[in-house]
Amino acid sequence: MKLAAPAAIVIAVILPFVVSGYHTFQLAQVLAYAIAILGLNLLTGFSGQISLGNGAFYALGAYSAVIAINNLHLPYGVAPVVAAAVCFVLGYLFGKPAARLEGLYLALATFALAVVTPQLLKLDRLEPWTGGRGGVQIDKPVSPFPSVLDDDRWLYMYCLIVAIVMFALAWNVIRGRTGRALIALRDHPIGAGAMGIDIAEYKAVTFGISAMYTGVAGALGALIAGFISPDSFSILVSIQLLVGGVVGGIASIFGTLFGAVFIEFVPNLANQLSDNAPGVVFGVLLILCMRVMPGGLAGLVASARARRAHRGT
């Protein structure tokens, strides 16, 4: 168990050297998705608040990063930090009133956020910054060591470092005081309140943290695609993140990696299997996945481990 994280990092560092540039690019996208799904898991899996609107923060992070680089001429390394700050503040402010809503009502409020965002991005007044409907291009980071790392691998390593930081942070948050408070809040809000946990404040902060994670992922996603426009951030992004979260295991940290792999590769796989109805194939694969492992991959692993412990091996 202690070896899992270092082993994962070693695999992640080696991977881009054994696959092609195109697959390295896809793996970088997987890392961005994993961070976004992690943000959703912190909110939905650990604190029990359902969000259908994290795609909005993904968009916000992407635009913050691009504006930071294109308009404010900040270095690439700073862009995710800017995205994180902007998204944390706005996520917290949105979470402050929204977190008073329960379950499905919160889901609807966040859904509205995701629907509105692409429209807001098209606003004329914001056009000098956002590029309006036409979108904005962004120069991809150029590798400083082209002989060892080409641009694709460099961008992947950059995403990997950000991902390691974000995962380590989540790991510490969840295993500490805050994590216990969040889980208490999810499992028994009244009990948690009686224990002295400030429910409204904790919910709003969790919203902010979740938005921050999603925003960082959006910033990486923008760098990977090299272009953003309102069409890049339809409601489907939020739904994809939810699918990834559930498939990986919604209350899991490392399950997010599997969720990210799923939403990156399974739609392509579905496309290969059927020209006419890739959506149907994707749906069937998703149902199969949930049938075989209802608790996501993390749930499957946990129950396998429990069974083995039961047998006494």
């Binding site: 690019f25 896809q26 309102p230 069409d231 590769f265 392509n268 692993v301």
Partner: protein
């Protein structure tokens, strides 16, 4: 320990999926091998360009087969069906054309990913007729950096004909700006003292129109244009805009609206008894989608510009020039509706590509493909109105910069006047 185990499983899974993908693609590609004899002569020159062999030219595109713009899926299906027939007839200079058409769901990041897949994994020679302004913007820099032709992009935006900055990208249809310039040119000639009112959609589409009119009228713009009104796509109707334009006392009305709002404008103009000279954008010039809902009697006399024929027009349905189009769609794309303008579009744009590849002969280097695309002279396609030609040059990356005007007679749009050039 088991966490470690499933991490390894995941990593292996990634590699497996990636590997399968590559294998499957390769199997899908070069099978037929129709022309052994023509191939051997070309084999020596054919090796340089990815996707080009002695018997095959492999090309790719991304199309929204799913998502909000999936009505355009017809274009991708028509493109594929067109080259199916080309291949059945022996291909182009002995090579069959394999078009890999992928679904991007109208999402720019997906378009980037799939375009990279086509280029780096599938090894296509170039990208042909990918759809959507944002999606093509997203891949434009990548393709130009790699010097890969991005031919005949399917969008009406006004940024594709820019060979000095993006020498590997070329559009196909006339842009909205060019269309507007053609209307301005017509009005300057036929009605130099017009009092003009303009209705436009408040987005890139409408603004391109306005820019074209400004450019077309030049210093006459302020004198001629009495009033402009805009609408948002969230507006229920454009009734109030029409009343305000009517009150301005205009005798000429330019309707730069998309179908739903163009129909609303036609109906309101008829209802209030306003009788301006009415010019309407080509995107709304559909008898079934706009004129019928608005009321054909209210639409008599409306003028629009045409660069391809309206296949939903019953007069066009019997056009002998379209006999080949109808035969093709019946045999190779029976699931498509022959009266769908997108099918006509796919046929026309694919025919243009076939012409470019024929002109390339046996030199299928990317440089030569681009050179030949920029070397089309007086090329007429049967789905374009008579007199319209495709012309390109190393400095003119606009295949269509001409239109003919057509007037609605009560049943269909009838061509009149000469070909008008935008430039």
């Amino acid at each position: 320990m088991s966490t470690l185990k499933w991490l390894v499983v995941t990593a292996t899974g990634v590699l497996l999926v990636a590997g399968c993908e590559q294998k499957k693609r390769d199997a899908g590609g070069g099978s037929a091998g129709a022309s052994g004899s023509a191939g051997s002569a070309a084999a020596s020159t054919g090796g340089a360009t990815p996707g080009v062999t002695a018997t095959e030219i492999k090309i790719g595109q991304t199309i929204p087969y799913s998502g909000p713009a999936s009505a355009y899926a017809v274009i991708g299906k028509a493109d594929v069906a067109y080259f199916k027939r080309v291949n059945a007839k022996g291909g182009i200079n002995g090579r069959k054309v394999t078009l890999i058409s992928l679904d991007d769901g109208y999402s720019p990041p997906k378009a980037v990913e799939l375009t990279r897949q086509l280029v780096e994994n599938d090894g296509v020679a170039f990208i042909f007729n990918s759809l959507g302004t944002a999606n093509n913007s997203a891949t434009q820099r990548y393709l130009n950096d790699k010097k890969i032709p991005q031919l005949f992009v399917a969008t009406g935006a006004d940024k594709w004909g820019n060979p000095s900055k993006f020498p590997w990208t070329m559009g196909w249809q006339p842009s909205y700006r060019q269309e507007a310039k053609i209307y301005a040119r017509y009005l300057l000639k036929e009605k130099p003292a017009a009092k003009i009112c303009i209705l436009y959609q408040n987005d890139d589409f409408g603004k391109d129109y306005l820019a074209g009119l400004k450019e077309g009228f030049g210093d006459q713009y302020d004198k001629l244009v009495t009033k402009t009104e805009s609408y948002e796509t969230s507006d229920p109707t454009v009734d109030s805009q029409i009343i305000s334009l009517h009150d301005a006392g205009c005798d000429t009305f330019i309707n730069a609206a998309t179908p739903k709002f163009a129909a609303s404008a036609i109906r309101k103009i008829g209802d209030i008894g306003w009788k301006p000279l009415h010019l309407m954008s080509n995107v709304s010039a559909s008898v079934t989608a706009v004129i019928k809902p608005a009321g054909p009697d209210k639409a008599i006399g409306i003028i629009t510009g045409a660069y391809i024929k309206d296949a939903s027009d019953p007069a066009v349905a019997n056009d002998p020039d379209l006999a080949d189009y109808r035969a093709w769609i019946k045999e190779y794309a029976p699931e498509l509706d022959p009266s769908d303008t997108n099918a006509v579009y796919g046929y026309g744009v694919s025919m243009t590509l076939a012409k470019v590849l024929t002109q390339c002969g046996n030199d299928l280097s990317r440089e030569n493909i681009m050179k030949q695309a920029a070397n089309l002279t007086h090329f007429a396609i049967p789905v374009a109105p008579p007199g319209i030609e495709i012309n390109t040059s190393p400095t003119d990356y606009w295949p269509f910069s001409q239109m003919r005007l057509a007037r609605f007679t009560g049943e269909h749009f009838e061509l009149f006047g000469d070909v008008i050039n935008a430039d």
